[in-house]
Amino acid sequence: MRWESWAEFWAMGGYGFYVWGSMVVTALLMALEVWQARMARREALRQVQAQRALDALAQDKETDPS
C-alpha cells in the first residue's frame, strides 16, 4: 500500500477534486444506467402481461360471442 493515511488518499496529492470528480461521476452514471435498464425491463414485462391479457380477452370473445 502506497498511502500513509486515508486523508492522503483522498487528497490525491492535491488533485483530489479532479481524480474523484472523474471516478464518482463514472460510477454514478454506470449505476444510473444499470438502474434504468432494470426499470425498462420491468416496464417491458408489464407491457407483455397487459398484451397477454388483451389477447386472452380477444380469444374469449371469438369462442364465446355472447
Partner: protein, 248 residues
C-alpha cells in the same frame, strides 16, 4: 453451411433472448471482478507519475471510456451493415441496445478529459482535433438515439438509425488518428501496437484491466438491454407470453 445456419439460428430473437439471459450475469460478474482488481492496481499499487503526480490516475477511467466510446460506435456500424444487408431482426435491436452505453462512455470521455485537462493544461476544454471529434461522436450518439426514438415505425427507425451509424463511423478513425494528423494539445496514444507503451508497466496493466472491465460491462448491459427490446417487439408472440418471467 452449418456454421452460417447456426449463426442465423442464434440471431433469432427467441434463441438470443435465452442465450443473452444465460450470459449476462457471468459477464457482469467478470466485469465487476476485473474492475475491482483494476481499481486496486490503479489506486493502491501503481506509483505516482513523475510528471503529473497523482493527477494521472484519471487515466484509469479516461482511456477505457474513450476506447469504449469508439469501439461501441464501430459495433453499431457493424450491426447496421448487417441490418441493411441481411435485414435480420436482431441487428436493429443490437444497434439500439448499444447506443445508450456508447453515449455514456463518450460523455465520460469528455468529462474525465475536462477534469484532466484543467490541472495539466490549464483549460477544461480546447477546440482541438481530438476533443472536437470526440464531442462530435457524443452528438452522433445523441442524434442516433433522438432519431430512432422519434420514428414510431420500428423498422423504419432501425433503418434510418443504421444510416447514421454507418456514415458517422468515419468519425472514429478521425478521433483515433487526430493526435497524429494535427498538432494538438492532447498527448499521443498511450498504447500502440507498433511500439512500446509510453507508460510504466504496472500503470499499463491497471489501465488494460479497467478497459477490459468496461468492455465486459458494456457487453453485459447490451445483452440485458437487448432482452428488453426483444420483449417489447415480440410482446404479441406466444413464446414471449409463455415466458416464466411474464407469468410471474
Amino acid at each position: 453451411m452449418t456454421a452460417s445456419l447456426s449463426w442465423f439460428h442464434y440471431a433469432a430473437p427467441q434463441t438470443f433472448y435465452g442465450l443473452a439471459g444465460r450470459l449476462w450475469p457471468w459477464v457482469a460478474a467478470l466485469a465487476t471482478l476485473l474492475g475491482a482488481v483494476g481499481l486496486w492496481i490503479g489506486f493502491a499499487v501503481a506509483p505516482t507519475d513523475f510528471q503529473q503526480g497523482e493527477g494521472y490516475r484519471i487515466i484509469f477511467v479516461h482511456v477505457p471510456a474513450s476506447w469504449m466510446s469508439m469501439i461501441i460506435y464501430l459495433a453499431m456500424a457493424f450491426w447496421s451493415v448487417l441490418l441493411l444487408v441481411f435485414n435480420t431482426r436482431l441487428s436493429g435491436m443490437m444497434t439500439r441496445a448499444l447506443a445508450p452505453t456508447g453515449a455514456i462512455f463518450a460523455f465520460l470521455s469528455l468529462w474525465t478529459g475536462a477534469l484532466w485537462g484543467k490541472p495539466m493544461w490549464g483549460a477544461w476544454w480546447v477546440w482541438d482535433a481530438r476533443l472536437t471529434s470526440e464531442l462530435i461522436l457524443f452528438f452522433l450518439y445523441l442524434g442516433y438515439i433522438a432519431l430512432t426514438s422519434a420514428i414510431d415505425d420500428t423498422r423504419r427507425a432501425d433503418r434510418a438509425g443504421a444510416l447514421i451509424a454507418i456514415v458517422g463511423a468515419i468519425n472514429v478513425p478521425i478521433i483515433y488518428f487526430s493526435v497524429k494528423w494535427w498538432n494538438t494539445l492532447h498527448q499521443g496514444a498511450s498504447v500502440s501496437l507498433t511500439r512500446a507503451p509510453s507508460m510504466a508497466q504496472i500503470m499499463l496493466w491497471g489501465m488494460l484491466l479497467m478497459a477490459l472491465a468496461f468492455w465486459l460491462y458494456a457487453i453485459a448491459l447490451v445483452l440485458y438491454r437487448v432482452r428488453t427490446l426483444i420483449l417489447q417487439r415480440e410482446a404479441h408472440t406466444a413464446w414471449v407470453q409463455a415466458l416464466p418471467e411474464v407469468a410471474a
